[in-house]
Subunit: 400 residues, 2 copies
């Protein structure tokens, strides 16, 4: 029998895919590390296979693979020159089947669903997680339910709907919907793999392991990651905690979770030294993908951050836009505003510290800018006009 | 000194980055294979390094790398079940920095530009090539000119403009603009890396080599690829011609170039046995990315296809839409209509043949559906409505 464990109550409970929250304190539970010695299988082609010992799976079904993982870690040379920062890298998670980090989580959650014989899955999301779940649901041939917010844009509806899941636009409070999905799931045998699903969290570990291998078997000193529900941060931290436990590294990186000022419940709690966050009443930020007023994994994230000397920052929309611009103009990386919080956070943090030159810093770029074109004001883009006959002069005057 | 060669005139001319067309017949020239024995370096991390012997580069500048390549080759199991086709794979080129195959070409063309000391580059494109060139231009820190069609949508303008190139919207005939860009380039020292640029073409070879390695050092029997200017098809064919020349394979795959019926100058020429195509007057297809009425590499493509027992097909917009739907609903792959021509072409072709079961077929998925959301009619997407209180009933009735 498999178990999940509650970090707060320090207890284990039998795995229940329809409710993975602690029966006592209602915090999300996590998949415990196995007692056995674990190793890597670097020769394997399919990325998850390399990390199988570290995943909550006893085997892999290759037919569920959409090609996730193996994303590049790119050094940001021009940014480094411009800012005199040390070695900064982007771990670019937009190189994934649906162009966001969510595919890492979906890949493992779907493996689990299929291994356990489930035929119906679902998610509550309007963004990256919705398209990821719909795509994996299509590949696996499972009946897939995607519960969307009432005001979801046509654009987003199309990019999820193209995979032909059961799309339901739900009127009402989105936080309540999150909770309600689990009871509905139990009734109809639908495994709702929402943001802090324990198998999603284990899936995010793969990104951490890849960073370790890409840095030649070393951990970076810092990892900056956008912070929303907390699931992604937890998974990344657990990767390095696993690496430490197995003796591959001596020290876990300093994790910096970054929130947008317009919706920063965890940054607020962290700044005031609280161990529990308070729900935000009104969220307002350009970084929609991390605009989460009541993050389900918020308290665990606060706890894990504190236990491992991490920190949580917030950044303004102006800082986010400036960072998005720098990544696009200096490094050719066009990311979502939510992803640009990582660079904005690093720039803010670096005002108060001096990094040693050998320090490695990783920014986790979580999602593609193509998914948030509406957040770019057209006034930011400068366009010249020319006719064929005066084109030569136009270019001449640009070069003057 | 480096040379380019004309396949038609069978002559070599000194390399001139500002004009790579044959001085005699004005067909695009290609980079000749070196006489030396070539090998692969499979242990290297940066994909281009593995193929360096086969590329027109003597060394690589890692600082130009955006993470291109290493894209997945995914078996389409559910499609195979549904259709009784043999082994069909998708080579998913949307796992690239700007989500299309164009990055393969840009990666090599930029290496060449920097190696030759050029500081200004440009391209004539409104689509995938524009964002790719702008992103690589940003990473390389080169002055980058992107010449757009007058009616380029705001959406596309934003996704290119975010990298801050010199964007010029040009009024006038787009075919003329293509030709004119080279004379302007010579005047101002701007290397216009357009669709059939010989270094772009060499860059596309990397995709072919990866397919060979992913199929355990074998060539597939068939490769289906969308056919527009011809540059991509030429590059892919040249990869397998190189593999054959070096003794890695006995037989080059059968290449099937696929065009949209609304703009099929090469399919028309192929069907009537002609060696030269005729320009199309009015192009009209949903597959915008391959809607090219006057393909610069059309005649070479016809020649290479004939010399290597390939073929050219055309498919209707209805077939394209149906294929796009099948890829999204059965395989979780959301691609541009242009990319869906590959499956549409395979389905059309398979009506008249029976494949042996051991046959491997590769569809090259060239670009992301996110870049062509407007081509999806919202009537194709079915959305249920529910309130929080009747959600349970709504799901119940869906499952009935």
């Amino acid at each position: 029998m498999e178990f999940l464990e509650c970090l707060f109550c320090q207890k284990k409970y039998p795995l229940d895919l329809f409710d993975s929250f602690c029966p006592d304190c209602r915090e999300p539970m996590l998949y415990p590390s196995p007692p056995k010695k674990r190793r890597f299988y670097p020769g394997k082609n399919y990325p998850l296979e390399r990390f199988l010992d570290f995943l909550p799976l006893s085997k892999l079904d290759a037919s569920l693979n959409l090609g996730e993982g193996n994303t590049p870690l790119v050094k940001l040379n021009r940014l480094i020159e411009r800012t005199s920062l040390p070695n900064v890298f982007a771990k670019n998670e937009t190189f994934n089947p649906t162009y966001s980090f969510k595919d890492r989580g979906s890949a493992v959650a779907f493996q689990k669903a299929v291994a356990m014989g489930l035929e119906r899955i679902g998610t509550v999301s309007t963004g990256n997680m919705a398209s990821s779940t719909a795509a994996y649901g299509a590949k696996a041939g499972l009946k897939t339910f995607v519960l969307l917010k009432e005001d979801t844009s046509l654009e987003k509806t199309l990019s999820v709907g193209i995979h032909n899941p059961e799309l339901i636009r739900v009127k009402g409070d989105y936080g309540e919907l999150f909770t309600k999905s689990f009871s509905i799931g139990r009734k109809y045998n639908i495994y709702f793999m929402n943001s802090v699903d324990p198998f999603r969290v284990e899936g995010y570990k793969a990104t951490g392991f890849e960073i370790f291998f890409q840095l030649n078997h070393r951990a970076p000193q810092f990892i900056f990651v956008p912070l929303s529900s907390g699931g992604h941060l937890m998974g990344l931290m657990r990767a390095f905690l696993d690496l430490k436990k197995e003796g591959f590294i001596q020290q876990v990186p300093i994790f910096v979770g970054v929130q947008a000022q317009g919706c920063a419940p965890l940054a607020k709690a962290f700044a005031s030294g609280k161990s529990k966050f308070e729900r935000i009443k009104k969220a307002e930020t350009i970084a929609h993908a991390i605009s989460n007023p009541d993050p389900a994994g918020g308290n665990i994230s606060l706890r894990m951050i504190k236990e491992n000397n991490g920190m949580i920052l917030d950044v303004s929309d102006e800082e986010i836009i400036e960072a998005q611009k720098m990544l696009a103009e200096l490094e050719g990386i066009f990311c979502q505003p939510a992803s640009a919080t990582t660079l904005a956070g690093l720039l803010k943090f670096s005002k108060n510290v001096k990094f040693k030159t050998r320090v490695n810093i990783v920014l986790v770029i979580t999602g593609s800018g193509l998914k948030a074109l509406k957040s770019i004001e057209s006034s930011r883009i400068n366009v010249h006009q020319a006719s064929l006959s005066d084109l030569e002069n136009t270019i001449g005057s640009i070069l003057k």
